[in-house]
Structure formats: C-alpha cells, structure tokens
C-alpha cells in the first residue's frame, strides 16, 4: 500500500515538474515573441495554437498526420522485417557474417538523405521513395541491435537447454530468440525514432503530402505558425509512439528485464 502511494507520489511530482518545465519554456517563448513582434520570424504560442485550431477544423492537419504516420510505419515495418531476421542469421552463421558485414559497414555511414536522388530516380515522387528513405533510416539501428542481441547468446543457456532435452528447434524458439529480444526491442525503439526523423526529410523533398511537405510549403509562403504546428506535431507524435513502445517493452515484450 505504502509502495503504491509512494509510486503515485513520484509519478505526480514528475508530472508536476514536467508541466512546470514546459510552462516556463512557453512563457519565455511568448515573452521573446512579444519583444520581437514579428509573426514571420517568431510567431507567439497563441498564434501557433490558433493555427492548430484552424488546421484541425479544415481537416488538413489530420490528413498530413495520417500520411506521415503511414509512411513511418511502412518504412519501419519493412526495415524490421528485413533487419531482424538478417541480423539473427548473421549472428549465428560465421560464413554469412564474413560475407555481408563489410558491405553493411560501408553502407551504414551513408545518411538516409543521400539516398533521395536515387530513390526519386527509381521510384518517382510520392509514397514509394518515402517508404524507401524511412526504411533505410530505421534499418541500421534495428539491424545492429538485433545483431548484438543474437551474438550475446550465453553458452550456459545453450548448454543448460541441451542438457534438459532441447533439440535445435526448441533451442531457437525457447533460448536464442528470447535471449536476443531485449536488444531487438531496443533497436526497434531507436529505429522508430530514426524513421520519424527520416519521414520529414523524405517529405521535404520527395512527397506531396505529409507533415514534412506541409512544413516545406508553409516555409515557401512564409506561414511560420504552420511550420511550428508541423514541427510540434512531429515532436508530440514521435514522443508518444516511442513512449508507448517503451511501455509495451517493459510490460509485455521483455518484462523480465524490468521486474517491479
């Protein structure tokens, strides 16, 4: 009982502090905007808020959000679907590892934005190049973490399972996968963040919808409040999704790494 109360108290104080921090920041922002008195250089928080209302009522914000979220998830799922199995296969096969790892080491430093020309040449404008860019961005953190998870397999666990009658299939499902899972989930969380950053980059250049596109055309028409709406929505959605994945990780996917 006491423990529960204490936990509520600590959650409450964290909420309070967080809200206070945000309030102070917004206050400073409002002060700076009033002092500057220039809607294009720095719109006030109230102006941004009213633009929020305007874009919500005409429905364009939701349309852009939907387009961006869909691209993020498309890229994220494509990347996870390739990166996780590939990483585990490479973790367990020395020959394949030797064959593929140098290639990955060479491709990895290329920033996702450098792929945009090729993506547009191959796929034109629209959704496909955005999927491509977001999946490239999400791929490497997912792959590298899943690979580390696969190679962190402990001899004792394998030996214990074998001495308790586990064959190759049972070893894979009951030992290798769960022992790699914590690192895989860490990779997925980082990958999701990367996908959010990349979707905006892709939409700035290669798409005609979505939050990144909205930011870009608003910049051209000097509608800075809209730019700030786009930016804050991206921050909010990214934080919520990564937070949700964190909760899922602690409660459902790898509860053994977070007892209590």
């Amino acid at each position: 009982m006491k423990g529960i109360l204490r936990r509520y108290a600590s959650t409450g104080s964290a909420l309070l502090l967080g809200t206070a921090g945000l309030a102070i920041f917004t206050g400073l922002w409002a002060l700076a905007a009033a002092k500057l008195n220039n809607e294009v250089l720095l719109p006030s928080p109230l102006a941004v808020l009213s633009t929020y209302a305007e874009l919500l009522t005409d429905g364009s914000l939701l349309g852009d959000v939907r387009a961006s979220i869909f691209r993020v998830f498309a890229g994220f799922f494509i990347a996870s679907g390739i990166a996780v199995p590939l990483a585990l296969i490479l973790a367990y096969s020395r020959v394949l590892r030797g064959l593929v790892m140098p290639l990955i080491a060479l491709i990895r430093p290329i920033p996702p934005i450098a792929w945009i020309p090729l993506a547009i040449l191959w796929m034109g404008l629209g959704d496909p190049p955005s999927y491509f860019i977001t999946s490239i961005a999400a791929f490497f953190p997912i792959f590298l973490n899943a690979f580390a998870g696969g190679t962190s397999l402990q001899h004792e666990h394998v030996n214990a399972a074998r001495s308790l009658g586990a064959g190759p299939g049972a070893l894979l499902v009951t030992v290798m996968l769960p022992s790699a899972l914590p690192m895989i989930v860490t990779g997925l969380r980082i990958g999701l963040g990367q996908a959010w950053m990349a979707v905006v980059t892709a939409e700035l250049i290669a798409a005609q919808s979505g939050l990144g596109y909205m930011i870009q055309i608003s910049r051209l028409s000097l509608e800075t409040p809209r730019v700030l709406v786009g930016m804050t929505v991206i921050g909010l959605l990214g934080a919520v999704m990564i937070g949700a994945l964190g909760v899922l990780e602690r409660r459902v996917i790898v509860p053994w790494n977070h007892p209590h």
């Binding site: 402990q154 030996n159 308790l164 022992s179 790898v254 509860p255 053994w256 209590h260």
Partner: protein
Amino acid sequence: MARRTSPNDFRATRLPAATPPAARVAHLHVVGSDDAATIEATPRLHLDNVTVRFNARAITAVEDVSLSIGPGDFVALLGPSGCGKSTLLNVMAGFCPPTRGTVYLDGEPLSAPSAKCGVVFQKHSLFPWMTALDNVAFGPRRLGMPDPRRIAQELLNTVGLGAVANAWPSSLSGGMQQRVGIARALATRPPVLLMDEPFGALDAQTRSLMQEELLSIWDRFRPTVVFVTHDIEEAIFLADRVVVMQAFPGRIAQEFAIPFPRPRATDIMDDAKFIERRREIADIIRTEARKSFR
C-alpha cells in the same frame, strides 16, 4: 555397498589414482549375489583415457583421465583453477567432445548432452526470460513429461522456494538462483547430477547452508553426483570420494575415500579425521601446484 565399509577405516579405503575399470569391478564384486554384483558393477559413468586438447590455444586441458563412478556415488573433483576439472565435467555432460578417449554413460558411449545428466552451473545459467517455475518446468516440458508445472512447483517446494515460483530470476538472490538451478536440474529426475562449482559465487554463510541443503536433497533423490570445486572442506564434507586433480596438463593426482557416515552435519568438520584428511589433501595440492610452478 562395498565402498562404504567401516566409517572409521580411513587407510584401507584410500584408492590409487585412476582405478582401472577391471579393478573396480573386482572391488565391487565382494558383496551380494553374482547377479546383483554384475548390475552394481556397471559404472554409471566411466571415463576411458579421456584427453581434451584445445588446439586453438595449444592447451591440453585434460590428459589421459580414467575414472569410474558407480550409481549413487557422490564424487568431488577437486583442484586448483586451470586443472581441467570443469573441462572434465563438460566432457561428462556431453558439451565438449573429448579429443581422445570415450565417456560411457550406463555402458553407452556418450556423444551429445543427455537428459540423463542434469547439470548445475556456477552462475547465470537460469533463463532470465522465464519465471523460476518455468525454468524448472523447462526440462519436463521438453521431455513431454505429464504436468510439468506441478513437477516444477513440487521441486521448488523441496528447495524451499515454493513461494517465489512466479518471480523472475533477476529478482532472486544468488543463493536462491542456485537453488532454482538445482531444482531445474533435478526436474527430469536424471540419474546423474553434474555440478560445476555451484556454490563458488556465494558468500561463506550461504555456501555452508547450501551444502547442507544439497546433502538433504541428495539424500532424498540419491542421484550420482559429480561435484567440481576448489574448496577442500566442501569436497570432504559432501563427497564419498574426492578426486584430486593437478594442472598442466590436467590429470588425476590422487583419489581419497571419505567414509564419514551419512547423514552428515557440519560438526564433522571439527572431527580430527576430517582435519587430518583436509591436511593430507592440501599437502598433495600444494606439492602439485609447486611442481607446475617450475
């Protein structure tokens, strides 16, 4: 049993190192009818000139070790680190194939890990992604035994951990984790229990409690136990036979019979014979260690 003659007859029971199987059979032949003697004479575990060489490191970890272990024996493998005692245990468990020689389990050559041998590791061998109960139920599930959860719960009760069946291993203390490890190894009712310094990472008090606990568990199930340790008192307290190993290369230096009656309590550690045997074994280990220093 022929091995445990008189509890006080220490000198007579001292065996030469690496008793050849034939000699051991003859030794066991003394009691019982011929049939019974033949059954008893088949060693549960028999190591025939086992050599393990790690070519990558150019190390001969174990050289020409022969050892016979009868059903229900409690054998301690004792020696300094690097003497190959853990490697020898891994060979018996089927984790590490010998470079030369053969291991026989119930007369059959052993080539892979067998569910007949339960293994308890030094530490960190519980599956962290399973609760204590699921760790113990793992073996019964893999072997298709009926009602694995009930088997696991009963074993956890036996080792005094029935109340924390649903805890994750990471939330248990080191001693509790080792008890779960012992329960897990016993869950498939293996005739052989191989223990690799299972209490080596525990503090002295917990260690002493665990030794007594182990003896009471052993008394209940009576498996054949091979117990690796570098602690002389632990070896004498627990085992019927203490096999002292030497390093570089790993060989059997000498074997001692420990005919203290069972059940044993910690007060035998104050017994003059216990102390004498401890000194004797310590001398051997020191002599061997000095040799390998040159």
